[in-house]
Symmetry: D2
Subunit: 219 residues, 4 copies
């Protein structure tokens, strides 16, 4: 069984959520895949303040960040650590990830190389890919995908993209747009190019995670 | 008189603050320059939730975001709108801007093309540059500077970088590092290459803002 | 009179050329603007081999690169040095600028901070913007524009983007696509969003160059 | 046996070559790894002119590009297609890959989704990582690594970075600098942080390629 976490970085349940649902369908096309979505818009996660208390003995698997009591707790950390792959989706705000996704990313410092005792490096070797939904056609999707990749590389992840298909629309992940419809909650459904890319991205994460997960476990 | 706003994107008063202080000294070397710092770590600014209420008649110069009552208010918006240039400094977290800076950026949607009535496009023609401080040597400073530029371009700003000096360390803005000292509050002071770049960046913003501000006003 | 150089980075006279023609029309909307196009596909420019002979006394305004006898000569260097602004257009190949444009960029090392005597820093304070044309919808236009900006910042240029318009398609420069038509020579003409952005980009370079050129000359 | 191709994108045998040698040592630490270096500076590869003749029946495994007779021939294409992983190293010129590496990248269009019959998609599922060597400290290494990644994603590759180590210097690949020594051929040897990252990058490619290669073959 390969476990994929699908992270929805939108504050709302709208276009990014719809794109991520499509990616989940793609992941589920790969036999033996189980996907769970984490909606950041439904969680209360406070910003990291760079205090580094997560590197001290106060911190640990049950308590990744001693400075905060919120939804980025030991239960969430354990779920992330147990996954084989990540599909990270975000609306594009000002050319990069949403504040909500950025906030989540910063708090994963507790899981990185210098992270909390018992959690350090726990996202290493996971397989990841990104999905970006923008209001403009070339509205920051590509830099946003690169920002998602950067976060993945910080954790030692293995990064994949759309991979298949003749016209993926974007080569480095799924790029979707609500243009020219605009701010409607389901505008992205009209973007068939982007929706196909979302599905391909989900399938690709599941495919490569299934290869890598087995190897890591057998190592 | 040229007015520069120096935005400190750190949750703390530490290395990014020190780098920005140096940039302010650089800006003040240009005659007729006045600089004011905004420390995001001292303000309470809630994340944008993408509701677009800033585009409605509820919003306006006194009330840029009807969905929030916090420090991103009419007074702050007026200050940003009145400036001629911006120096934006941030610690690098996960390869890009801090959550605190991202949160501020997202809220400036109220000042953009589709922003609040009376504020739309009010940052156009401002001159801007970025400063990034990372714990690793090549620890995300350059993608972070590009993320700052992206935000500036969203607002129609004019973007500059270090410009002068034989060894600026970085060509696209000031890149500083606390490596190999690590997490001490003033570690960046030992980075003479980076500190010189911070000063050059501040001077450059003030220089070009003084050219452009006059021209825009006379147009 | 403001002089703008429009650089066509395509090996062919096709879609990128058409986009650049539109940008030139935009630039010419600004009174007092004169534009000259340089088509790299019509010049013979050999790759830089990193020998640094351009930093020696062998080099100079008449002879920017002692290692090469080709079309990147003193006449071309003088033309670049005399301009007030640059519009740089390229097809997107593998997510960034064409080899032809990259080759040109590398050879401008002779005009940079450590460049040939008499040419060092001669592109400083020029105003620049980029145009990228890709076969896919989100096919690398944005990273390509960032690569063009990086080159501009290496030379101390002042970088602008689309700036105006409610739906520019892209915020950091003009992003065009030949999708879904494909490889036809004039496919990009059907991309009205991108063509409008090309025109806006040209106009913006001319506008800001007219402000800056006067100020630099009077300094 | 896992086969890794190490591509040296420098026109010279100097610092980038030295960094790549170190990466090869890292790759060879993984049992069962065989590495072959391709030095682009020793090959004659002409720029792609976007004619798309590689998509026609004229093209094929023996003749990837009908428009050119040079060292990017059927033998080189077969070698690339047979590899399990790629380490791509380049000097940073103007903030991104060298012209020599860009030229090679563009010609791999013949191996991509729309490539020559019999070669289409032949680089899919390869594992890749990048190495960038710059004259400045934050001199474009990170955007250069992102440009290398972009090319890899165009081919459906699986991208990895430094992954291990407490202070990798850079998270998204190996970033080296010749600063402050400057243009000497072996200046990079003094950059112990960067050299360690180069070794870690090579090891990482070999490690993940060994996992993936087996899985793909068994599929």
């Amino acid at each position: 069984m390969t476990t994929i976490i699908a992270i929805c970085g939108s504050p709302r349940r709208a276009n990014t959520y719809a794109a991520l649902q499509e990616a989940i369908k793609g992941a589920e096309e790969v036999p033996g895949t189980k996907v769970e979505m984490i909606e950041l818009g439904r969680l209360r996660i406070e910003p990291c303040i760079g205090c580094r208390r997560h590197t001290t003995v106060e911190a640990g698997p049950e308590n990744p960040c001693p400075a905060r009591k919120d939804d980025f707790d030991g239960k969430l950390a354990a779920k992330l650590a147990a996954a084989d792959g990540f599909i990270v989706a975000t609306p594009v705000y000002c050319g990069t990830v949403s504040t909500q996704l950025k906030c989540f990313m910063d708090r994963t410092a507790a899981l990185a190389r210098h992270g909390a005792p018992g959690l350090r490096g726990c996202l290493r070797d996971k397989v990841g890919a990104g999905i970006a939904v923008a209001g403009n056609r070339n509205g920051g999707q590509e830099p946003t995908l690169q920002a998602i990749h950067y976060w993945m590389f910080c954790h030692g992840m293995i990064v994949v993209a759309t991979s298949t298909g003749q016209w993926p629309g974007c080569y480095i992940g799924a790029a979707l747009t609500t243009y020219p419809i605009g701010g409607k909650k389901d505008a992205v459904l009209a973007d068939t190019l982007g929706m196909e890319a979302a599905r391909a991205t989900g399938r690709r994460v599941a495919e490569v995670a299934s290869w890598v997960a087995g190897r890591v476990k057998s190592a």
